[in-house]
Amino acid sequence: MTALASHETSRTRATGASLRLAILLFVADPQWLVPSTIAPIVFGLVSFELFRGEGPYFLTYAILGAGMMSMWGQTLYGSGWATGQDRFLGTLEPTIQAPAPYLYVVLGRIIWNVVAGLFGGLIVYLVVVLAAGGPPQLPNPLLFVVLFVFVMVTLASVGVVFAAAFVYSRYAGFIQNVGEFAFYIGTGCMFPVVLLPFWTNPIALLFPPTWALDALRYVSIPGYTGFGWGWEWDLVGAVAVTAVYAALAGSVFTRVERHVLETGQLSDY
């Protein structure tokens, strides 16, 4: 056996490998496959009944509410949980021990979670359309689709932070479970943030999905006022806050990795 000489690990390959692994594990494990297809159907039906008769755009409300609930779980929660699974399986140590930076491994999983989240959103759309007997009225369908995907990206950016938390501590699952609904409501997944007490708004604006969801409602529901500064500024805000999250991600992972190597808790689960 000759020793490895010169190859350097490719970050893109690490992300690609992680994406491929996420797909394989998703397909191989019914604990992911079943909830990610059945839960959106339930969310869609509940949301349809919840918003039925609430004005001419109730279908859009229903789709956004249920779609976000489904995608939030898949994209945000799933991104953190994938690292939690690594901890549980004992694969976190060999993965961190590999030369590829762990952030790029996490990115691969997040890409898959975004795709799976969009799949959930599509199921919700189909369920609501079938229940209502027709599609919702959308003033600008193309912009709706673009912003819909963008919401996923913002959710993914928060997912990176959750993933870092799972590397940091085995108790991240506990924190994520406790914060799940506060985050879900606080960022306006089910209903607009402006309906919440004013003091919650500045906190909510620290999270990219809050901005992106407000923009999405602006372009989907005529007459929606939201924060009052229009969807374009929402978009600027979402891009800016997401960029901050992305910029911080590398530094956060470096610090988190150093912390776990100092404390020696990588193998704890």
Binding site: R13, A14, L89
Partner: protein, 327 residues
């Protein structure tokens, strides 16, 4: 540092700090490694022995960049494990073993492919390399089966396959045969020997003395966070008082009898153990002057006297060293 050295450890200290309790938490501090010094040459198998909690896994994880030292200098392949961890990671392999550490829902080939990509093995070589290591650990026949269907021994082989997939220059094996059946353990040892033949340096921790004796020309004994011995087998035998061991068993010995045994030529040490009413005296003997017959002659009147001679084993050495350290 000389190019001949694979590992160079100077005054390594590792302290773990943790908190117990939620509201009135208490800080605990454990010094797992207390000033370890160690040099390991390239191209050989180096054995690290020690009782549970001695610090073997801590040392292995520090050497393989999975844990930071509290103080001291640690170099592997001439590079600092803290400052040059990324460079090192592609050149060292680590096998922690056990039931965990693998993706159980997918097959062995997919597990290896994932890690091949993380290690940057060129895509053109990847599949051939996976086939090669699967053959090497004799898992080709089960490579398309899910890992959850694997026995403990098969999982261990897969751990090793992953550890050598990127052709490391040095391989850290932490208790590689623990929990394996004798056949699998023997195959693992055979594999380890073949890796050394290929020029890989092996750093092996084990509980099994016979394994270390069989594989390692040089061993270190770690006890309570300190290296208490680091030598060749011959050197260690000499250190504990002799190459030969004579064991005498009877239902009790008088003190004058023990005194007479201690006075025999070449006898460096006599220790005693009780097994219920049966007592065993163990004599370490440096020279050939004293034989079992001489011992028997000094112990007349014992109805059930058993005297046998054997070579001082690593287990004898290990127990002596750990006992010395405990005192």
């Amino acid at each position: 540092m000389s190019d001949e050295l694979a590992i160079e450890v100077r005054d390594l200290v590792r302290i773990f700090e943790s908190r117990k309790g939620f509201f009135f938490s208490e800080k605990t501090r454990t010094e797992a490694l207390k000033g370890v010094d160690l040099l390991v040459r390239r191209g050989a198998i180096f054995g690290l022995l020690g009782p549970n909690g001695a610090g073997k896994t801590t040392l292995t994880k520090i050497l393989s960049t999975l844990l930071l030292p509290t103080s001291g200098t640690v170099k592997v392949l001439g590079r600092d494990v803290v400052k040059e961890a990324t460079w090192l990671r592609s050149r060292i392999g680590l096998v922690l073993g056990g039931e965990r550490g693998l993706y159980n829902r997918i097959n062995a080939r997919e597990n290896l492919r994932y890690f091949a990509d993380l290690y940057g093995i060129p895509p053109t070589e990847r599949d051939a390399r996976i086939t090669e290591v699967l053959e090497r650990v004799d898992l080709t026949w089960a490579s398309d089966r899910r890992v959850e269907e694997y026995s403990r021994g098969m999982k261990q082989k897969l751990h090793i396959a992953r550890g050598i997939l990127h052709r490391p220059e040095i391989l850290f094996l932490d208790e590689p045969t623990i929990g394996l059946d004798p056949k699998s353990a023997r195959e693992t040892r055979k594999l380890v020997r073949s890796l050394v033949a290929d020029g890989v340096t092996i750093f092996l921790t084990t509980h099994y003395m016979f394994e270390a004796e069989e594989l390692c020309p040089r061993v270190a004994v770690l006890s309570k966070g300190k290296i208490v011995a680091n030598d060749t087998m011959a050197g260690l035998r000499s250190r504990v008082g002799g190459d030969r061991t004579i064991e005498v068993e009877a239902y009790g010995f008088e003190d004058p009898e023990v005194g007479r045994l201690k006075g025999l030529p070449g006898v460096s040490k006599v220790t005693g153990e009780d097994f219920g009413p049966l007592m065993r005296l163990t004599l370490r003997v440096r020279t050939d002057e004293t034989t079992p017959e001489h011992v028997s002659d000094l112990l007349p009147g014992h109805a059930e006297l058993s005297v046998r001679e054997r070579r001082t084993s690593l287990e004898d050495i290990y127990l002596d060293l750990v006992e010395e350290e405990a005192q």
